[in-house]
């Protein structure tokens, strides 16, 4: 049994929230650079140059990568042998988000009463917290600021199993095409196939935590990832939908066993400001 102080959770979450809004991962930057090399569209090249330049300016100035500092999506993988003391996990995490968004001069974009008054909570809390119990005695925390623009371009379809692999392909490509420039391409396409409706959406979003372009370990799924990436990039949307070959940086598919009567397919799009930071306590 290992004790972890709620206070340490709060401080770690605050730090991760600030860092995630300032520093893109090396994997994202590397993929953007390689996209820039092959992008033939002059406007597309200009946009990719701006994205790479912005990624240098943000950590130098402390100005966040995007003014939309997003909904704070937090993943807590709690080891079964961890005992959290000094407060409860959810409160500690939300306190960390409040602190990080205040200290980091990050935008407060969360409102109460979503269908009526929509009054700002003024501290970017609450976060959306996904907690899992895992083996071991460590606590892994991940903060993913998820922008409203790309999150609005989420899709779920309960396909009939007879729709098959082609049904999945058609739905994912159509989802990207109808989204146009709204999710700020070049995007990472997160796809969840199987489970229940909510499980499909949950694994689609979790897929965005992979290193960009890392294939699914199952070769059959990896093959589908590659095909979808080719087809999505053949739409011609390109960077910021102004034309080009770089509509998506990667497609990440997660699968889960399905009900005999179902084939849920969920699409969660990540904008090019693919932000997340992790730490292990």
């Amino acid at each position: 049994m290992r004790e972890i102080q709620a206070q340490d959770i709060t401080e770690t979450i605050a730090r991760l929230a600030k860092e995630a809004n300032l520093r893109l991962g090396e994997d994202v930057l590397a993929r953007l650079r390689s996209a820039r090399v092959v992008e033939p569209s002059p406007v597309g090249q200009e946009i990719l140059d701006q994205i790479l330049q912005n990624a240098e300016i943000a950590p130098q100035t402390g100005l966040p990568l995007c003014q939309d500092c997003g909904f704070a999506v937090v993943y807590a993988d709690v080891g079964q042998d961890v005992h959290i003391v000094g407060g409860d996990l959810t409160t500690a995490v939300n306190e960390g988000i409040r602190r990080g968004y205040k200290e980091g001069y990050l935008r407060k974009s969360i409102v109460n009463h979503p269908f009526s008054t929509r009054d700002n909570t003024k501290d970017n809390a609450p976060c959306v917290l996904h907690t899992e119990l895992v083996p071991g005695d460590q606590l892994k925390l991940t903060v993913m600021p998820k922008g409203g623009g790309c999150e609005n371009m989420s899709y779920l379809k309960m396909l009939t199993p007879s729709a098959g692999r082609q049904g999945v392909v058609d739905f994912v490509v159509d989802s990207v095409e109808r989204s146009g420039g709204n999710p700020c391409p070049p995007i990472i396409v997160g796809v969840g196939i199987g489970g229940t409706a909510d499980q499909a959406m949950a694994i689609a979003k979790r897929s965005l935590l992979r290193q960009v372009g890392e294939p699914n370990p199952d070769p059959e799924v990896a093959g589908l990832e590659q095909e979808l990436l080719r087809k999505v990039n053949a739409t011609g949307l390109g960077p910021m939908a102004l034309g080009g070959v770089t509509t998506a940086l990667a497609v990440h598919i997660e699968t889960y066993p399905a009900h005999i009567a179902s084939m849920p397919v969920a699409v969660n799009l990540q904008c090019h400001s693919a932000r997340w930071k992790s730490a292990t306590l």
Binding site: P42, L63, N182
Partner: protein, 185 residues
């Protein structure tokens, strides 16, 4: 290509969909709530927060201003939400808009009819754009907080011309050019 704001008719006529442009001068920031208020003012015959003739509106809601900076990160928000209000403002003399994403048919027609131009700024390069802002002041609707109307002085704000006075559309043209239609991708 360097363009100064407020825009002259000659400058507007020189712009074509797909042009890369840098904006220098004065632009005004307004988004959803401010647009609703401005249309209400037009309906009541009351003056707008600024004289719209020749002016450029930027659809944007910045992150908080850190100490020592003029403004926080300042990238564009989705223009489509302001479509309902835009034709009235174009009729009132507004000449330019900066945002991201395509506009409705009605807005595109109003752009051609009123000889105005719509520019796209790149989403998510908000720190880069922030540094082009040299001065920022709240000029109206301060009670709206983050949705107040701002007057900005900008130098070298990079944008792409999306809709020009000739009916051009950079989103349509771009996709047409790079879409793969032959063979199996």
């Amino acid at each position: 290509m360097k363009i100064t704001a407020p825009l002259t008719d000659e400058a507007i006529a020189s712009l074509h969909a797909g042009d890369k442009v840098e904006i220098w001068g004065v632009i005004y920031v307004g988004r959803d709530a401010a647009h609703k208020r401005m249309i209400e003012s037009l309906d009541k015959g009351e003056p707008l927060p600024f004289d719209p003739h020749g002016q450029v509106i930027y659809y944007m809601g910045p992150s908080p201003t850190p100490p020592g900076y003029v403004i926080g990160s300042a990238g564009p928000t989705t223009s489509g939400r302001m479509d309902a209000y835009t034709p009235r403002l174009l009729e009132a003399g507004l000449k330019g808009m900066i945002g991201k994403g395509n506009r409705s048919k009605e807005v595109r027609a109003a752009i051609v009819k009123n000889r105005a131009v719509y520019f796209a700024a790149t989403g998510g390069v908000a720190a880069l754009i922030s540094l082009t802002v040299k001065k920022s002041e709240t000029i109206a609707y301060s009670e709206l907080g983050a949705e107040a109307v701002l007057r900005l002085e900008v130098e070298g704000f990079p944008v792409i011309v999306v809709n020009d006075i000739y009916g051009g559309d950079a989103y349509e043209q771009g996709k047409e050019k790079y879409k793969v239609t032959t063979g199996t991708p």
